[in-house]
Amino acid sequence: MLSLVYFLIAGYVYAQDAASLETKVLPVLRANCFACHNDKNSTSGLSLESRESLLRGGNRGPVVSTSGSNLLVDALRQTGTLKMPPGRKLPDAQIELLEQWVKAGTPMPASMLKSRRPGADHWAFQPVRRPKVPTATKNPIDAFILDRLAKVKLSLSAEAPRATLLRRVSLDLTGLPPSPKELADFLNDPRPDAYERAVDALLALPHYGERWARVWLDIARYADSDGYTIDAPRDIWHYRDWVINALNNDMPFDRFVIEQMAGDMLPNATRDQLIATGFHRNTPSNFEGGIDFEQYRVEAVADRVQTTGAAFLGLTLGCARCHDHKYDPVTQREFYQIFAFLNNVDEVDREADRRDFNKPFLPVGKPDEMKAYGAWEAQMQALEREMNAYKSSIPGTGQIGDPGVVERQRGIDAHRRRMPKITRTLIMRELPAPRQAYVHLDGDFTRRGANVEAGVPSFLPPLNKKEGRATRLDFAQWLVARNNPLTARVTVNRAWQKFFGKGLVDTENDFGTMGEKPTHPELLDYLAAEFMENGWSQKAMHKQIVMSATYRQDSRLRADAKAVDPENRLLARQTRLRLEAELVRDSALIASGLFAAKLGGPSVYPPLPAGASNVTQVKREWKTSSGPDRYRRGLYTYFQRSAPHPGLILFDAPDGTVTCTRRIRSNSPLQALTLLNDEAYFEFAQALSKRILTAKESSDEARIKEGYLLALNRPPAETEAARLRKLIAAQRDSGRDDQAIWIAVSRVLLNLDEFMTRE
């Protein structure tokens, strides 16, 4: 009882002092410190505007302590290297006042206790709530779209012609146009649910996984080589195949994320779960001579943070690497807290491990290959053990140049060269003890700021962590927790972008305060809620979108809609979209009949224009594939970062060095040269002409029709046929034979805008 009274009195006294201190201290802080150290700018990670942020400290660590030295007072007294305020010094009386205030526990008025990072109330950071669907329609998507269109007195366009529709949905779901037979079956199917049946059939095709894997591989910055200077080949195609299979099996998206982010940390991780972690091993690696390995390891980790931000959170986390984010409430310290999750992979960080530069990896091969590899590896370990034993038996300084060491090293090197053929796919593997993460002052890893522990930004829901240190696995689970407001929204928005050309949020990789607001916020939330509650099924989400009347509309321009909605953001029509790089090739493969349907496997080497690989330091041989591998889908083309295949890069395939969440669609003369003159495309035209010539009927009329059906999935209009007849006549006049004539016609078809466009 007595102690309670004492406590109350002490508290009262404290409150008295505190109140007077507050009133004296605040003007000093306001006049001298707040200009830089406020909640908005927080220079050097420090804000003095709230007690919470003051106690948290800045990038150099805590700035106040009630006992002993503290950075704030030292900086004001200017006794050390850090001198504040910059360029001048406070009067001694004011410094003493601040010191008293620190000793008293930095009391602040109630209104200044909590930190208020601006932007925390931004729409995208609020929970996803399932909205009410405006009116009863068969597909709720249409209800939201129609509701918005009605406000500008517009409605949806009519459904696209059936042939166009099937071509569209086939290209969107599988990346391949339909065959003439598939088209005929669909056109002749009178059942009211013919379209839905077609959609279901497409979703079940293995090509669905290939098409959507490529979309994901853009985000994963997938490439088959290391990048930077040496740009050596790397084994990572097992990861590509893992993505294809996961999508074909409709792996729930939450699991899809967890396995890629932290499959290695799951209990009893399977081979596939390890392969999945190749996701964050797609970062470029620098193995140039004379580098500091730690520097490029740090680059890779920072890239993982940035990629994770863009891929799942729609946040530009990379902006917070050198300073607090200028527009979003992400602090620099929080950047390094996320960094800490991804910082503990057993990767090369020193010169001594140069030989092991691809570690960690997983050997993958057939049983006999695995056996041979296992024996080889055991022998390697034995040699290394023997070397270590020998080294410890001789005096430490004599090791370099010691004949015994040299001889043993020679033996190890020779054994290394005898490694049996196997793929060693890059994976994540956690170090037994995590690296200590710290704030990199100004983003420079050589300038150590305060140590940080793994954690998530404070304006987002907290991490549901069990005991002890939060791990990469905890982080992965947090990304796809039901209360994470971003991942589902970002994912459905990116799917929408593929089906309509633009997302509901146009800035698909920036859901922060600088990003655009959604055109249909309720639809976005509806889709996100539906996605999560439907077991994160991507196929179900894709199906719901392509079943909507909104998706099925005609894409032709409408003058009335253009007047009120010039960019077609309200979707009174579909949009014509030029096919992506790989799909231009795939469509030509299908039209020519050369298409090789094999799923997965090592990357392949279709013809490369002469001289295209002549641009890098280390010239790598391009062994043009023969047989079916010459005719594989574009996504299997070997991707060398320093010399990507021009057929891909000229059609806007990303360069595979940083994450890419949207493809630009450029329109250039070099694309025209490729389709007109490239060896591969000429071969496609020749093959298409043969198909045309071997069709049942041999009249020009019938052949033109056949060509149109094969290349464009529709019969020609009379004017179009007439134009081709004119070409044929001119060719005959100049004495060309049938073979040459129909190659010319085929070249025309494969170069039409319509051929490379999803209408």
Partner: protein, 467 residues
Amino acid sequence: MNPETVNKAITRRHLFRDCGVGAGKVALLSMLGERAFGARHHAPKIENVIYLFMAGAPSHLELFDYKPELVKWDGKPTPESLLKGKRFAFMDSFSKETPKLLGTRRKFEQRGKSGMWISELLPHIAGVADDLTMLHSVCSENFNHGPAKLFANTGSFRPGRPAIGSWVTYGIGSESKNLPGFVVLQSGPRGPRGGAALWGSGFLPTSYQGIPFLPAGDPILDLSTPKGVTSDEQRQTLDAIGDLNRSRFSDTGDEEIATRIGQYEMAYRMQSSGPELIDISKESKETMEKYGAQPGKASYANNCLLARRLVERGVRFVQLYHADWDHHEDISKPLDAACRDIDQATAALISDLKQRGLLEKTLVVWSGEFGRTPMGEVREKGKIGRNHHIDSFSLFMAGGGLKPGISFGASDELGFSPTDEKIELHDLHATILHLLGVDHLKLTYRYQGRDFRLTDIKGKVLQKILA
């Protein structure tokens, strides 16, 4: 609307709508682009840039930055104060024992009326000394070749940013209607480290990427009509494609089709302008000798001549890479050879441009990705080379808008650090853009929520070298 007008309309619309950018909004999306619509921020001093990139990093101490004091201290251990806190490439081998200073063995002389110091290794370049604007004390931010080349070309040592030539053509387009606006040529024993990333368009549309030209055969990939197809037939094929595309355009109203029609026409024009460009057989004997060029030979000399032909034809940005200048092991004979490769043709390019009145509107830049250490590096007994050095190195420019015959910036007595103005590569970028009439602060592109620029958060125009 004819395709030409449609083209303009669509490219403008495209940029306004899709890119949401600053000055670049008014640039052309088309790679070949016509003259941009007043995209410049001020009157330009130059129209074209020829950037001679010396891949591997030439030694400023053997070529341009004369350091008699370093010669005096040759063989002495490097003062520790210089090395403290510094990071170097090959740290493990380089720092095992204190490296020794290495004075140059080359003779330097003051050249021209300006009295610029240039070494005996570059007699031809010494002959145009009065046309050069020499910069000393230039620094870089990364001491490894690949990343440093990225930095010199894109303003960031991390991959993923657009190259300077991409920024320029994005900002102000190109005069040439028949050739790409940003062309890359290369010579030497190997390609530059980093490859395509050095001239990639990063987050800008890929139509702005640098297009590597091949020195023989087809200068541009897929430029030749396929075997067995006559040029008449190619024309007929193109006409049919154009007509059918036009009919699709009237059906759908999609202006992208109109753009494509225009691009196919440009492609056709390139099929004749490309071969015409690389056919140097009509150049006079005198010119060929001046450069040391030989028809059909892949060489730096031929590339210099091609560079002149490219700017003559209105190509905005030409970049030459010549490897290899990475003289760790031996700074004697291998350096002689590299200098012989480039000396005559570089000087010929400058004087030829001048003679033709093109130097006034062209900027020639000669630079590596960094310089080389004042300390010697011994990798092999009996030989001595120099390691990578980023604190201070030299480069030169020549051309319109600059004060000729001056040296700007200075390094200390050992050629280690700047004493005078520290010049960053961002400053070089800002200055190149300035000469082209572009404000480096205003040429931006929004990507991932941020307005990016070539000079990142830095860069200042080097006012003191401007005429």
